[in-house]
Subunit: 368 residues, 2 copies
Amino acid sequence: MSNFEVTVLGASGGTDGGATQCFMVRPMGCRGLRSICVDGGAGFSQISQMLARSKDSFKSELLESFYANDFEPAGQFFDPKASVSLGFPQCILGSLEDALEKHKHLNTFTKAMEIYMGVKEYYITHAHLDHIGAMVLNSPFACDANSGDAKLICALPFTLQAIEKHIFNDVIWPDLLHGGSSRLKLSSLTDGIPHVCGAFPQWDIIPFKVHHGFSASIVDERVYSTVYLFSDRSTKQSLLVCGDLEPDSASGGEPLLEKAWEYIATRVPRGNLKGIIVECSSSASTPKHELYGHMSPAYLVGQLSRLREMYGDPDVLAGLSILVTHVKTIISEKDPRLVILQELREAALQERLDVRFSMAVQGYTFSF
Amino acid sequence: MSNFEVTVLGASGGTDGGATQCFMVRPMGCRGLRSICVDGGAGFSQISQMLARSKDSFKSELLESFYANDFEPAGQFFDPKASVSLGFPQCILGSLEDALEKHKHLNTFTKAMEIYMGVKEYYITHAHLDHIGAMVLNSPFACDANSGDAKLICALPFTLQAIEKHIFNDVIWPDLLHGGSSRLKLSSLTDGIPHVCGAFPQWDIIPFKVHHGFSASIVDERVYSTVYLFSDRSTKQSLLVCGDLEPDSASGGEPLLEKAWEYIATRVPRGNLKGIIVECSSSASTPKHELYGHMSPAYLVGQLSRLREMYGDPDVLAGLSILVTHVKTIISEKDPRLVILQELREAALQERLDVRFSMAVQGYTFSF
């Protein structure tokens, strides 16, 4: 029985500037249009395109690739046992029909606005532009007095401070946080402490600060990011959703990701961890000094092994779904997402890790 | 005889978060892949999609609309006499074939990289995120030691300071300006003073600071933007490319746009102004206090009348091409771009302004 439904609005690791990380997360089969998003690198525009595409069977199971072929069959990107479907979940589409009864214009943008208005909280991993851009560009919609919308931007303090100081400052973007009628608000989380999700109060969301490399211009200045553990208090099931990150050891940093694994291994009972959404930006051929605070296949499989070790049970991760995100666009013959999937599967086999890797692809919904 | 070739990589006024303003400008029929861009709200991703689309005749003359219909016939958006074609200009596509001979992978991303590497200068109108976002997300490509790429970000000081302080600061984005190997550099322009274009030295590019409303949170703090006059020293022909702006009178500000009109009326001979690319964000039904520093049809036609008045010749603008950009996404029955086009044509008729309005649509090339 699945517990979490994740619709991928964006999963690119750049640098092409396509739809970057934004995962819409909901309880499986939940009625209504409420949702929360982890990161805001995609948004209203991607929602609109998904709704328009759903009416068009042409190319519906072909993905934009632009490498060996411009479009590739979707099946190659998913584990054969993954629970994945094109477009929004049926329960959202059903709820959308109900919500639209009050409207006279039933066009795609009207539908997209209903879904966008349903996003009640953003959980931001860090303030890099590819994780917040669309959230910022869409924000005037959230402040329209007629929209009935209200949104929280939830994150650890270092992320909120960056967004407040450098984005909503009337220089890079109108300051919609401090205007009188604004319904866009910041909500500060605490590292390692469960936060009760506003949209879905049955969920605890626990943020963990993690390493994300170093500053490009200031020697030894570290950059941080966040991973979020979703924990359903009634079913006791959990899902881990990561932003950009690297293993603690990659930069010789203090144990941070290690603490997240320890929390999971001690608090999430065996079998209750339903999935991990995690980046793997670059392929195995990338030199370590060119990872810039990101995961490689070796790093990711190494960290999964570490989690298994902490559980002290060689089979604890058997069958676990790993959804891989944030693959960087490079110049190559083959789609790097397919290269990385293969490398991950081979590395996991060598470590006798029986996990299932799929690629997070924009426009698809995954169940965990 | 046309002089300027403008490929629209993005022209959305938001808030949907689709491809926002970026115009690739080149001398008509110019060989090679060099180009400059006015604003950076779109980039590599849109170049890739345009190249992929060019191979696919399906829907090629239908535009994404998402209002009355998800796709609308392109012809509605253009003046019948406009010189417009789908995709990149033939001279770029021809030069691309030559450039590709050195590559072994001839896929769409490789081609897109060649065109992206050809962008030598960005002329930024102001630092709002919808005018710089893709330029920032694409910037690591420009700093890749293997790419042979080098780019200048050209703007008035207030814009460069914002980009340096709030974007390339290792918080919102890696500081790629001050890294040792970076080939991304800032280039400061001076208000009203001709700047010799690096990519096309036959061009003077003259920036004029203009009004763009007020700060959202600080009372009476003004926001500024820039318009760029392109002037070809050999042909004496000119093109005006604007970012976001409002008439000086809209906010009771000092004469700024007025100075740009005065410069044009005194320096650009009658008939040598080939076109104006200018925003018109909202329709005539929008209250003035909801324009937030932007143009309406009445404001835009009023400003064109003012330019005519300065020339002192009632027929001076006859047949002038006006390319309208930055229409905001709203919830409505009809595509607001079509509404605004109609309102502009009616308002111009009333003022006996015989200009030709077309809508800047992503993926099309216009000649001036």
